[in-house]
């Protein structure tokens, strides 16, 4: 590597000598890097662990309470959500250190400031453990107390909602009217923007977290209407809201925090015992198939990364490879065209290795330039995709080139440089010194 400086000097000269060809190579690499980096970043956004410090402890709970006649159509054959009556029962377990069933609902918000118009807003209906479980940070106050879980009108606001309703000041203790009653603010979240709404992967999980959080116990008194997926089977035996709650409809996401493998095993047997108990009263007629799945595994189960994204990423790598392979011929032609010069270098003391590295450095330099251009193009492409996504979901910052993605771009660039350069450089270093020095 003692010659790296010299090799870079020669590479710069060589690239300038042939600007047209250099441009062609740079454009080739740049396109390949732009496309592959863009899709790598898109894929990355879906695959990043949203809460690395405890993703292994957070478990989604799925119960196979489904129709004995046919398995649930979901990939794993179990409904992704649980029924209300099952949630109520399994929430009685003391094994999880934290747990919450939850769903989302639409509520009208009536700002205290009469100058503001009422507006409809998505609220998450959950238990007090939600915030600590999923790492939602508080700016003011905190979660509601245990008693409030039973159905007191208290609310936790998101940072943007507190901004909107109270101008961002500490609003703990103030009230806000939701639908038909006054809610007391007990907590205000700090800025919280996980990549995905990973705590509810059943629907529209690309998007910002909800702006309102209220206790689950309000379900009955307010007859809160589900704004998410409802997936059921069998006849609705009861009538009205209570009939709905007693039905086999699955519509609640159930999460538990289990600190270790023993807790997981214990909780699993608890669920199986519960299901076996239910069999006696004619429910759970399918074979036991209850699932306690850690977050990342659950994300894979749910196929959180859209298939299109996966295949586009694969295709983009292929595209980069094609770009790199196409450059082999160009570089080979270029290197062989100056075989005279190379033979002189060999005669005057450059070893094969020196010549090989000299040419490889040239390939890496040109591909580095292409890589930089490619990354800039990828930034443009990602901001385009973000803008489109914002128009679709309201979330405009999902895709970004963070450090890991820049490292990926760097690796892809070096890889492209190697793929396009190894063979030409090898051919160049095989040039015999004598042949090209032959004169007349």
């Amino acid at each position: 590597m003692a010659l790296l400086g010299y090799d870079l000097f020669l590479a710069r000269k060589s690239l300038r000598r042939n600007p047209g060809l250099t441009l062609l190579v740079v454009v080739g690499i740049a396109l390949g890097i732009a496309v592959s980096t863009t899709f790598a970043a898109v894929r990355h956004a879906f695959q990043t662990d949203p809460i690395p410090e405890k993703s292994s402890m957070l478990h989604s709970v799925r119960l196979d309470s489904w129709d004995p006649a046919a398995p649930h159509p979901d990939r794993v054959g179990v409904p992704p959500q649980v029924t209300y009556r099952d949630m109520v029962e399994i929430m009685k377990s003391k094994i999880p250190v934290r747990q919450s069933g939850m769903f989302k609902t639409n509520l009208y918000v009536f700002p205290a400031d009469k100058a503001q118009n009422p507006f409809e807003e998505m609220a998450r209906v959950c238990y007090r453990d939600f915030f600590a479980m999923f790492g939602a940070p508080f700016a003011y106050g905190g979660t509601w107390d245990e008693k409030a879980d039973g159905g007191e009108p208290v609310v936790v606001l998101s940072e943007p909602m507190n901004q909107k309703l109270f101008g961002g000041v500490n609003s703990v203790g103030k009230t806000v009217r939701l639908r038909d009653r006054d809610f007391k603010v007990v907590g205000v979240l700090a800025k919280w923007m996980p990549n995905l709404r990973f705590y509810d992967l059943t629907q529209n999980y690309i998007g910002e977290p909800e702006n309102l959080y209220i206790p689950f116990g309000l379900l009955r008194p307010m007859e809160l209407q589900l704004a998410g997926n409802n997936d059921g089977w069998g006849p609705n035996t009861g009538t009205g809201f209570e009939g709905y709650l007693a039905s086999e409809s699955t519509w609640i996401q159930m999460w538990v925090e289990l600190p270790n493998a023993q807790a997981v095993a214990a909780y699993k047997s608890f669920l199986d015992a519960y299901a076996t108990e239910q069999k006696k009263i004619g429910r759970f007629q399918r074979p036991l198939n209850n699932k306690v799945t850690p977050l990342l595994e659950y994300m894979a189960d749910r196929e959180v990364t859209p298939r299109a994204v996966k295949s586009l990423f694969a295709v983009s790598l292929l595209f980069l490879a094609v770009c790199a392979v196409n450059l082999i011929g160009l570089l080979l032609g270029k290197f062989l065209a100056r075989s005279g010069e190379t033979s002189v270098r060999r005669a005057l003391g450059a070893s094969r290795k020196d010549v090989f590295l000299q040419h490889l450095v040239e390939c890496q330099l040109v591909s580095a330039v292409g890589g930089v251009v490619g990354v800039l193009l990828a930034l443009g492409a990602l901001s385009g995709i973000n803008a489109w996504l914002k128009s679709q979901t309201g979330r405009g910052d999902l895709f970004a080139l963070d450090l890991p993605m820049l490292l990926v771009a760097l690796a892809l660039t070096a890889g492209a440089g190697l793929v396009s350069g190894l063979y030409p450089a090898w051919r160049a270093c095989q040039l015999a010194p004598a042949v090209h020095l032959r004169i007349g």
């Binding site: 000269k13 005669a347 003391g349 004169i439």
Partner: protein, 240 residues
């Protein structure tokens, strides 16, 4: 310095086998200035290529500066070329888009010298060939004679023990050829061994002795310029 015994070099193509060197035995002592003569195709360039470790050979032994060089790795061979041998070619073989300074720099780079030492050597070598004022000219901006002097500076900067020159004056007019010959003689006086292929008896006459090749064989290992002067190369070869 350069001792060959029974060196053979065969070029094989589909149709013919050319014995470019056939049992070449010779001994060039350190500090000698030897001319190599012979008509076109007689194997002179092949001989220089083998002597300069630019090409392999098919038989015989070759000792360069006390070192058996028949089976060296590419890295050792390259280093030996770089440190012990200087090449001067008929067509100069300067790198067209490097200026005088960078051309002279070339062998020093592969010797991994410090920038300071390289610069000192380059400036002094360029001065010796009288081109200090042309340091940043490109080869295309120099006359043929000047280009060959740059090539000689490139050799001088490396300070090799052995200089191999293949018709160094072949592309130059008489005046420039004379300048180049004077330079080579001076370098030889300062201790370098020189082996020079030439077609011109005048040049050969400046050497201490001449070796004649004919069809890859040494036909007159030790002729003194006195004999040569009166006998044209071709005629001599024909006579033997």
């Amino acid at each position: 310095m350069l001792k060959m015994t029974g060196i053979r070099k065969v070029y094989r193509t589909d149709l013919v086998e050319t014995h470019a060197l056939d049992d070449v035995t010779l001994d060039v002592k350190a500090g000698e200035f030897v001319a190599v003569m012979g008509r076109s195709g007689s194997g002179k360039t092949t001989f220089l290529n083998v002597a300069g470790l630019l090409d392999t050979f098919d038989g015989g032994t070759y000792t360069l500066d006390g070192m058996d060089v028949s089976r060296l790795s590419d890295a050792t061979m390259s280093r030996t070329r770089n440190e012990k041998i200087g090449f001067i070619f008929q067509s100069f073989n300067l790198i067209p888009d490097l200026d005088v300074f960078d051309n002279v720099d070339l062998p020093l780079r592969y010797r991994r010298m410090t920038a300071k030492e390289r610069k000192e050597r380059i400036l002094s070598a360029v001065e010796k060939v009288g081109l200090s004022s042309r340091l940043h000219h490109l080869p295309s901006q120099l006359s043929g004679g000047q280009q060959q002097r740059v090539a000689i500076a490139r050799v001088l900067a490396g300070d090799p023990r052995l200089i191999l020159a293949d018709e160094p004056t072949g592309n130059l007019d008489t005046l420039m050829a004379r300048e180049v010959m004077e330079l080579l003689l001076k370098i030889n006086e300062q201790g370098a061994t020189i082996v020079m292929v030439t077609h011109t008896p005048e040049c050969a006459a400046r050497a201490q002795r001449a070796i004649h090749l004919l069809d890859g064989r040494v036909v007159d290992g030790d002729s003194h310029f006195g004999h040569l002067r009166s006998v044209p190369t071709g005629a001599l070869a024909a006579a033997i």
